[in-house]
Symmetry: C2
Subunit: 568 residues, 2 copies
């Protein structure tokens, strides 16, 4: 492809709104262009990378027997009502009413649809297992889309779904997909770590996220350097560091006026102490009834852990009315002392707290000098806090490390959640009808591209791994209007094309400076420079973008050298 | 691919709701499955054909220098307001409001977006021309989706847009795309006829539709077998057959009571005459003012022709108030006699009418014995009727033929409509700023697949052309559990795979009858039968699905014979 005929609108300056490296570089290198918040066009160069990643995904999945299909973007409301997710998906799901007043979902995921297809078409254990996938544009109504294509309103996903007659078969497929994902990300030049993750809105029983360590990541990877345990912060099994023994005398509870002070931060200022002196008291609803959840004031509660601890499909913060019913006070003044007839569970973080501060279950009042056992009882001490720096590994006691990462894929064991609700059943060998066991497997294709850029760049631009590079070779012809330069670079270009090597040819009437700058910015792995040196000595420079190493070769050696380097 | 591992849910019976052959066969052969009205999933076999057609499209377009990109599905309202189409697109365009109350369009077409991209990135004549395209899912809120993927709410389109500095360049590209389209459809095994077409909602100045003759088509192709002229019925330049001279005496106008009778059909029953005795009188609004449009009662008016005749961007039927203002009567009783101060244009169909019937411009009254010149004057006689059987070619006078067709592609000269509104301008050699000239080019990818099925089938199923077949070869192993059959068919399968030939291998535990039926239904071009004959004589049957011709070959000859036939 000749640059002069192509479309790579590179930018000299960092776009103002771009916060993270990949976003800046993807805009500057002309890979994407912004249409509106969270909506991007993939320009020709960007689409080539999307296609490269998609091809790797397809190859690894097809090799493992997964079957590609394509389901509609628009999904009728009724099928989401059947699965129960019309209610639970919340405002992140885009919903659309057509001119006949029919409601549709703009597909964020396709469990309902694929389960419907299988329910219609598969009857016997003989036709199982099956693993389907698609690569498709998906939608999420992000309130704060950001970081370019990392958190967008519209993005390209690979979503896959498997169906099984037995748990063993489902577990086997989970492992196969886990391995496929490891291979895919490796091929894409990413060190994606599989970490334990929450099943969230998908439901199901086990899940791993594949997360790429990167400063721009919104996920937190929690890992133990000693035993190798890793999980996301929501789910990481942690132990608190040993509590410093508090030698204080246990005092008597005392009510304090705290008008309009509902937040731990405000209260900490008022009481002139750290937020770790507070017992935060939250009322959740799970399994159809309220439950009191306690944690130290500086600890965030993980709803994922809470769901697991409570054995509940869902655990949500109770509404104002329920809270007032439980505490007898308006929201913001709840405390464990004096509550009766309700389960109280507490994060381990409050163990060892002496003379703590809590709400008084009265408007505008808090209590100081509250003590466990003396002033209230805890039914269960559990691990429901989000992991923090300083927490210890529950497996081996080593201090956990926290680092940011970009989630690029996730695999789930779904169990029978969807097959039971949507009638995906099969006849077993004995003629009995059973619901199928399901798995589901996602990869963010567009996000993977951003993660690659995030991990492969320097101050001058992108450094594409060969496997996903939009072109393998960039020919930079300096003074292309000089007949010798034209002849030599044209001939290299034609020979590379003839060999089926993807080559971009900078034949523009631009200065050497601009060409080198743009070349480094768009990051094609090998630069072939036809310039002054060629005129003087007949030598061509081959430069590797990744490490900047360059070599001089004769014009005849260019094609064989390139072939050797890209392993083609 | 082994059938036993694949997913081809064939159906024995024609699905009830399917009206046309392609719809029936695509459902029965397991290419698609219905999710809801106008929404279909492409099952693995169907997706393979979509990909084959897409690949042909890409190859022909890339060869001609078009650049592939991918734009968002969601498009903000604001850019459609800028182009003026937020108003004019009507209810066919799906609109969606997100949780922040922002309005979006679910892209039915992308003129606004691509013009925005070009406006941001291209400044100089040196960077022109450019031709961009994408292959993407598109949306239309069809009231009556039907014929499977032929008229769906969600469908796959190739849409392309070119940008030029000069009219000559735009015209050249139009011809290049016209030729590309001809080549694409030919490669897909379709005889698509380029016919003159309306520019419709796209606007612009010239357009050709590529239409495949097929009984299931919703378009009407009008063609002249003598001079080769062809166009769609909306646009076909026609002449009426010579009017039989009416020897009747010209009578005096006479008012008749026609209470509540507004429609030509009702009136024809009442007056006991044909609808061709009426002069239909319609009030349109164009260029900001009303105009009276006349046609014989049995002729439908083409708004496309009307727009051209009036030189108007838009011509719409006037509302009740305007009609009452013009005629002084409620809607349904308009007639030309007595109207003053307004332009009256008439389709040529009313020429020669004697003692016709028209509205009286009074409530519940019509007039009989109305005559041109005597009772009213026509400003212009023009061709604004939709072509009908019996009409003559305006070029050569031969009788025009009408036949149904499926529109699979369309090319448009857009001119400056979008570039002016959206600021896609360039600096010419002299440093002057000019709006770019645009073209746009669409292909219905999913509809093309349906058209191929519509044109290539018999009573037993589909007969895929080799170029778009999901697999080239189907191995039918009869009694696969017999060791000799298994060994022979496995070896043919492995050898074909090794040669990179796309092969589907029916290794199921099914009867020969079911395998042959399914084989003919899914329509893979070459069937390789390993059965009883192989056990008896060592011979394998190669059958061509298209014509049913078969040949016996030795097992060693299968691969070379197949390679010869598919030209690989």
């Amino acid at each position: 492809m000749r640059w002069s005929k192509y479309f790579i609108p590179t930018l000299r300056e960092d776009p103002k709104a771009a916060e993270v490296t990949s976003h800046k570089l993807m805009l500057r290198a002309g890979l994407i262009q912004k249409l509106a918040g969270g909506l991007y066009s993939y320009l020709p160069l960007g689409l080539r990378v999307i296609n490269k990643v998609s091809r790797i995904v397809r190859r690894e999945l097809n090799k493992r027997g997964a079957l590609e299909l394509l389901m509609p973007v628009l999904q009728p409301k009724e099928i989401w009502e059947k699965s129960g997710r019309w209610e639970t998906m919340g405002p992140l799901m885009m919903r659309f009413t057509n001119r006949e007043e029919k409601c549709f979902v703009l597909g964020p995921t396709h469990e309902e649809i694929i389960t419907g297809i299988v329910a219609k078409s598969i009857r016997s254990y003989r036709d199982l297992p099956k693993n389907f996938y698609q690569i498709q544009t998906k939608f999420r109504d992000e309130i704060r889309p950001r970081f370019g294509v990392i958190r967008a309103r519209e993005f390209i996903m690979k979503d896959g779904y498997s169906f099984h007659a037995t748990e063993e078969s489902a577990n086997r497929e989970y492992k196969i997909m886990y391995q496929a994902y490891s291979d895919i990300f490796k091929r894409c030049g990413l060190e994606a770590r599989p970490i334990e993750a929450d099943t969230g809105i998908m439901g199901g029983r086990q899940s791993h996220e594949f997360t790429v360590p990167a400063a721009a990541g919104e996920d937190i990877i929690v890992s133990c350097s000693k035993c190798g345990y890793s999980a996301n912060a929501e789910l990481a099994a942690r132990r608190m560091a040993p509590v410093r023994t508090e030698k204080q005398t246990i005092l008597k509870m005392e009510e304090v006026n705290t008008p309009d002070m509902k937040k731990v931060d405000d209260l900490a200022r008022f009481f002139r102490c750290g937020s770790d002196r507070f017992i935060k008291t939250l009322i959740y609803e799970a399994n159809g009834k309220p439950v009191v959840v306690l944690a130290r004031g500086d600890i965030d509660i993980s709803e994922a852990k809470l769901r697991m601890v409570l054995g509940a499909g869902d655990a949500v913060l109770a509404g104002d009315r329920v809270i007032e019913g439980v505490t007898g006070a308006p929201v913001g003044f709840a405390g464990p002392a004096g509550l009766a007839g309700i389960e109280i569970i507490a994060d381990q973080s409050i163990q060892g707290l002496v003379n703590a501060i809590t709400g008084a279950n009265k408007k505008d009042k808090h209590i100081k000098n509250v003590n466990i056992e003396k002033d209230f009882k805890v039914d269960r001490f559990v691990d429901i806090g989000i992991a923090r720096e300083g927490d210890l590994c529950r497996q081996c006691g080593e201090e956990l490390k926290l680092s940011p990462g970009i989630e690029v894929g996730q695999v789930f064991k779904l169990g029978k959640k969807y097959s039971e609700k949507l009638g995906a059943v099969y006849l077993d060998k004995k003629g009995n009808i059973n619901p199928m066991i399901m798995g589901c497997y996602g990869i963010g294709i567009s996000r993977t591209v951003a993660a690659i850029v995030e991990c492969h760049n320097d101050k001058n631009g992108i450094k594409w791994p060969v496997s996903v590079a939009p072109f393998k070779v960039l020919i930079i012809a300096i003074n292309y209007n000089k007949p010798e330069i034209k002849e030599a670079s044209d001939s290299i270009y034609n020979n590379l094309e003839k060999e089926g090597i993807e080559v971009l040819f900078d034949d523009r009437e631009e200065t050497a400076g601009i060409k080198f700058k743009d070349g480094d910015l768009v990051g094609i792995p090998f630069q072939v420079v036809v310039g002054k040196k060629y005129l003087v000595s007949g030598m061509i420079e081959i430069k590797k973008r990744a490490d900047g190493c360059s070599e001089q070769v004769s014009i005849e050696s260019v094609v064989p050298e390139i072939k050797k380097r890209i392993g083609q």
